[in-house]
């Protein structure tokens, strides 16, 4: 009985994660994956990933929700779309990676080892407040949060100084953010999208 119960739970878990991935835009296309590995062979960042794109899909199919959503794989995807255009079965792998990033955050299981989510948050916050991205503000916010959460050694940011200084002296870093006239509209859009409960 115990054994059967365990199996049932495993089946439900597997199905629910798979169904969840199928239900988000981009996720449904993994149905067609034949595990050929063309995506993994094409990925410029695969050596840095916990699981290659092919293996990520295999793990989704076996219901390994936590392993997949807690991995660093999707967070080192640079959205180059090489996997997507090479896939012989038209699986939208880059879209899948973005979907996994959203699910990982939504389930609160994002690995503490990855730095990209904090950078994305700083970027999105900049848009939410001004309607535009303010590069300098976004980068400072990200570096400060990375230092405070212990992901980055304060001295490591010194490496960035020559880059920032050069951009500044060449007139490529604006100090003040630009706020669009419709900044309030952006806030309204975000609030209404939240109220509608997202895409699901």
């Amino acid at each position: 009985m115990g054994k059967t119960g365990h199996n049932q739970t495993a089946t439900i878990d597997r199905d629910s994660f798979l169904e969840e991935v199928y239900s988000v835009p981009g996720g449904e296309s993994i149905r067609w994956c034949i595990q050929c590995g063309t995506c993994s062979g094409s990925c410029p960042n695969v050596t840095r990933m916990d699981f290659s794109p092919r293996k990520t899909i295999a793990l989704i199919r076996t219901g390994k929700r936590h392993d997949v959503l807690n991995s660093n794989s999707m967070w080192v995807c640079a959205s180059c779309y090489l996997c997507t255009v090479r896939c012989p079965k038209d699986v939208k792998i880059t879209e899948l990676m973005h979907a996994l990033e959203r699910l990982s955050v939504a389930h609160g299981v994002t690995s503490s080892r990855v730095s990209t989510p904090a950078m994305y948050r700083a970027f999105v916050d900049s848009i939410k407040s001004n309607g535009r991205t303010h590069e300098l503000g976004m980068m400072m916010k990200y570096y400060l949060s990375a230092i405070f959460t212990g992901k980055m050694n304060p001295f490591a940011t010194i490496k960035m100084l020559p880059v920032a200084l050069k951009l500044f002296t060449h007139g490529r870093m604006s100090i003040k953010p630009t706020k669009i006239k419709g900044a309030e509209q952006i806030k309204t859009i975000v609030e209404r999208a939240k109220a509608l409960g997202g895409v699901q």
Partner: protein, 297 residues
């Protein structure tokens, strides 16, 4: 004169790629293009927003599309990321009718509606297809003879949407280089990734990708690289000093926007092309052509 709705994107309007915005303005009338900036446009959201929340990110991008729809013109952007993200919004709305209903419900709160009729185009594609290389060639007064250029397409001009150029081996930028009288350098990694915004959060990974690109261009004899993307330009140009430090290399490759080189070949005053904005100076390699342009003034 052809009219377009113009979406500069955050970095080309006043940020790290301000030279791209300036040089685009400088060449547009000579190419018979009237670029009318989209009124009160917002950031497209880029990859960070699509990786955070689907409904919010598509709604934010669709605000721009809805504003553009009122103009009745094609929406043109010089930024490859904006191009991909705005096109993605278009295709998601088309592919998922439920999503489109929700997005329009969200936008109704700010008095907007999007029917789905805006064509989003990359500035380079517009120049290549609408203006045409034959026209550009006929206007060249200052051919860039002997200048060895590596054409860098990056990712998001040619992928994911097929159609404009071959996503595996693009050729259009190669043809532009020869039509400006310059010398095309073989560049096998021309459509490979520079790391994009991961240069901020995964710097080591991005520096490795940038090093491969610089090596591919330099070892084939390039004197400079031209790009069609603000992020590619910043990564290859401003981070070159960090690549040299990390890999003990001595790359000194200026990275220019294709708009700057078109302007130079068309005899437009160098000052109007913001050529001095590059961190790696292009002054020396462009000297034979900037002098000609100045005396012609």
């Amino acid at each position: 004169m052809k009219y377009y709705s113009y979406f500069p994107g955050c970095s080309s309007s006043e940020g790290t790629a301000v030279a791209y915005g300036i040089s685009t303005r400088a060449i547009s009338s000579a190419l018979g293009m009237e670029l009318i900036e989209l009124e009160d446009w917002n950031c497209c959201g880029s990859t960070p927003y699509s990786s955070t929340d689907e409904l919010q990110s598509v709604s934010i991008a669709t605000r721009d599309l809805a504003l553009a729809e009122k103009t009745g013109l094609d929406l043109v952007t010089p930024c490859s990321a904006c191009y991909t993200v705005l096109n993605r919004a278009n295709s998601q709305l088309q592919q998922y009718p439920d999503l489109k209903d929700k997005v329009n419900e969200v936008l109704a709160g700010v008095g907007l509606e999007y029917k789905g009729g805006v064509k989003v185009r990359h500035l380079f594609e517009v120049i290549y297809n609408d203006v045409g290389l034959e026209f550009i060639e006929s206007k060249v007064t200052n051919p860039l003879r002997g200048l060895r250029i590596a054409p860098y397409y990056g990712c998001q001009l040619v992928r994911p949407e097929p159609g404009f150029d071959n996503p595996h081996n693009p050729q259009s930028l190669d043809h532009l280089i020869t039509s400006l009288g310059a010398e095309l350098v073989p560049f096998p990694l021309k459509d490979r990734c520079c790391g994009g915004s991961l240069v901020i959060s995964e710097m080591d990974l991005a520096l490795g990708l940038i090093q491969k690109l610089l090596e591919s261009a330099a070892s084939n004899g390039a004197q400079c690289i031209i790009t069609v993307c603000p992020l590619c330009q910043t990564n290859l140009d401003a981070y070159q000093v960090l690549v040299n430090g990390k890999f003990r290399t001595r790359y000194n490759l200026p990275v220019l926007f294709f708009t700057q080189l078109i302007g130079l070949a068309l005899g437009i005053e160098p000052k109007a092309l913001a050529l001095d904005k590059g961190v790696v100076s292009a002054e020396k390699i462009l000297a034979p052509f900037t002098k000609v342009a100045e005396t012609a003034m």
